[in-house]
């Protein structure tokens, strides 16, 4: 990859004859790889290669963890092929990495030699005008003067220095150059991409992401076993997470209550008490866009839902479950579902599947639906199961699912029991199996916890990238060359401005410099080619 906007500097054609030795062959390959054309092709490939990553479900992309499995179920023939090609993990696929790594190699191979060139250019003095600098050459301004050559040269030099040109003066000539910083910006831009890669790699290697659901009144401590889901990097030290604890005192949720956007969420706020590693407690709040930060580990409020509080009594009358149960929301009205397991109920284990409707309409029409996401008139619909919940054989199971394979559904008059309960209501199960009471509703919060030790490096890289890019696209590298000479009894000044970049020198710069150096007005404006403002 060469540098942006430098059409004058094109590499020579890289194809040499057939009589290349192995070294020549390597050199040829290197040249080809670092050529702009290769870089362009790689850029286009990179962009195109990213497309399937947005059209096909991806593993490890946060939105829906089950999307890939569902896609595979719907397309049983296609999915294995796509999977083998890495199309469900495009951004971790070797071929995707191959493209950007080749691109970065190409970029480095191009940029490093440019660093050397820039270094040399910076140390060498600006070029002087050729002896035959013509008043008729493009971009030239000339006038006659009675001042001495030295006066004119000094005035011009002073003007140019004030405009931050590097100026070199001889008795009757001025050479000035500016805009090297453009190249510097360009190098900074390209090298920042390498720095960015380092930041990303550090984050991937040593960082982690995790998720946890916390009910109101409960809490979370930052240790591995507290996470519901945890994705460490290959070098993450899972046993030495930043120690802190958090108690969720209250989760405040507010919804739009009026108008066309009724039901849209307006505010989520988690009031928490945090205990740091030093044991000091503090009360704070976690909101969307306002995370908790403890020593670089951040905790984000990413979602919420309801945890209906239920009490289950078994056939012997003992309370075998009493507390909130996390129900996962299914829709915008927060219709939620979950399961309640009472494996220690006697004489038989009990399991319940429940659907929570936070606000049912007052007409109580069937089927019941939730009409508002806030819990204004909640109804818990339960169905019940008895038998073996499958928890005694030691295999871990989801707290959100009931394995009904060894269970019998509780029936009333030959129909499955399905009872809608309002708060405070109890349903007695038939045959003395027990009962379930709907005590009330609390909330839970979803938290995302993340640590990325590379993010500061990435941020620095991003700033470097932006600054470098802006400089390289706006600064114009240009030269001003001036000559004072005697032509047949009078003294003539010729000043030429030459752009070394596509945009050319800023409009009016030459006019202003020469006017201040004694050129009589009005200016016979030269041909505008290369100036920004077409005329």
């Amino acid at each position: 990859m060469t540098l942006v906007d430098e059409p004058t500097q094109v590499r020579p054609p890289a194809d040499h004859g057939p009589e290349l030795g192995p070294v020549g062959l390597l050199r040829w390959a290197w040249r080809r790889l670092t050529s702009m054309r290769t870089a362009l092709i790689l850029l286009a490939l990179l962009a195109i290669a990213a497309v399937p990553g947005t059209l096909l479900p991806q593993r490890g992309v946060a939105t829906d963890p089950r999307a890939v499995a569902r896609f595979a179920q719907e397309n049983p023939d296609l999915a294995p092929v796509l999977d083998a090609l890495g199309l469900f993990e495009v951004f971790a696929a070797p071929w995707f990495a191959a493209i950007y790594l080749l691109l970065l190699v190409s970029l480095t191979g191009c940029v490093l030699p440019r660093c050397l060139v820039l270094w040399r250019a910076w140390r060498s003095p600006p070029p002087m005008p050729p002896s035959r600098l013509e008043a008729t050459s493009p971009g030239a301004v000339s006038w006659e003067t009675s001042d001495t050559a030295d006066e004119v040269v000094q005035r011009l030099a002073a003007q140019l220095r004030r405009r931050r040109f590097r100026v070199r003066v001889t008795r009757a000539a001025v050479g000035a150059e500016t805009g090297h910083v453009r190249e510097l910006g360009n190098l900074a831009f390209h090298l920042s991409l390498l720095v960015l890669l380092v930041g990303v790699a550090l984050g991937n290697l040593y960082g982690f992401e995790g998720r946890v659901i916390v009910q109101e009144g409960a809490g979370f401590s930052n240790t591995r076993s507290q996470y519901d889901e945890f994705w460490p990097g290959p070098r993450t030290d899972e046993d030495r997470l930043t120690p802190f604890s958090m108690t969720l005192n209250d989760l405040a949720v507010r919804y739009e209550t009026e108008g066309a956007r009724r039901g849209e969420p307006r505010d989520f706020r988690a009031d928490v008490t945090v205990t740091g590693s030093d044991g000091a407690e503090r009360d704070t709040e976690i909101r969307v866009n306002s995370p908790l930060d403890v020593g670089g580990t951040k905790m984000f409020l990413t979602g919420n839902g309801y945890a209906p509080v239920v009490t289950v009594r078994d056939g012997l009358g003992d309370t075998v479950f009493s507390g909130p149960v996390t129900f996962l929301p299914l829709d915008g009205m927060n219709t939620s579902e979950g399961v309640i397991k009472a494996p220690d109920a006697r004489p038989q284990q009990l399991g319940f599947e429940g659907v929570l409707l936070p606000t049912v309409s007052s007409s109580l029409e069937t089927p019941l639906v939730s009409v508002f996401p806030d819990a204004l008139a909640p109804v818990l619909v339960v169905t019940a199961w008895t038998g073996d919940l499958g928890m005694s054989d030691g295999a871990p199971q989801s707290v959100f699912q009931l394995d009904t394979s060894d269970l019998d559904q509780v029936e009333v008059d030959g129909e499955p029991l399905a009872e809608g309960l309002v708060v405070g209501q109890t349903v007695e199960l038939p045959d003395g199996l027990g009962s379930i009471t709907f005590d009330g509703v609390t909330r839970f919060a979803n938290f995302q916890i993340a640590s990325d030790p590379g993010k500061e490096i990435s941020l620095v890289a991003a700033i470097l990238l932006l600054v470098g890019l802006t400089v390289s696209l706006t600064v114009r590298r240009r030269r001003v060359l001036a000559l004072v000479r005697d032509v047949g009894g009078h003294r003539e000044v010729v000043v030429v401005s030459r752009g070394l970049t596509r945009l050319g020198p800023p409009a009016g710069e030459l006019a202003a410099v020469t006017a201040a150096a004694g050129r009589p007005a009005p200016l016979p404006e030269p041909s505008p080619s290369g100036h920004e403002e077409p005329q």
Binding site: P18, A29, A92, R224, D344, G394, P396
Partner: protein
Amino acid sequence: MEGRRRGWVVLVVAVVIAVAVALGWSALRGDTSPGGADQAATTASADPVLVVGEADRGEPVALSGSTIQGSQMSVADLVGDVVVVNVWGSWCAPCREEAPVLAAASRDYAARGVSFVGVNVRDNRAAALAFEERYGITYPSIEDPDGRAVLALSGYVPARAVPVTVLLDREGRVAARVLGVVSDDILRGLTDDLLAESDGTPTSASTAVRE
């Protein structure tokens, strides 16, 4: 013409090398695809048993809180006994597998200077008590709804999973840890070693354990 053909060869070689590098890179990145949504994080570690030699043990464990039975307790009060700390929850299926082992051992060792302490994580009291009644567990369990007790414990020894069992020597220092379901053999072997330790009888804990 020949140069052109050779050019293609070089290009192909370059691409192959790049793919090889990329494969290495993605291997380095590791498998970051999400795991299951199970709350019960069991260990996949090859050797879940960790034994700390007498010379390498750290500070005495400070672990205290209110129990699900409603009283206060502190592990520090048990110094002089060998202490078995078990982290569990009634929702955790593997905990049910090991519960009979712990219940029986706690009865058998009660008179031999061994105390058992539970840490009940993310549970509700009714369910936890029903669990204890079913399995005949009589030792106290610290109630830990926000993980503070587990965090305190993991300050002394890595405790990545539920269940996890940690054994403290008579001075209250971490002497052994078992991630995941603890078997009767291992539990009794480790306990016997710790009891023997303070008798001054040297034994090899690790050989006793890893068979």
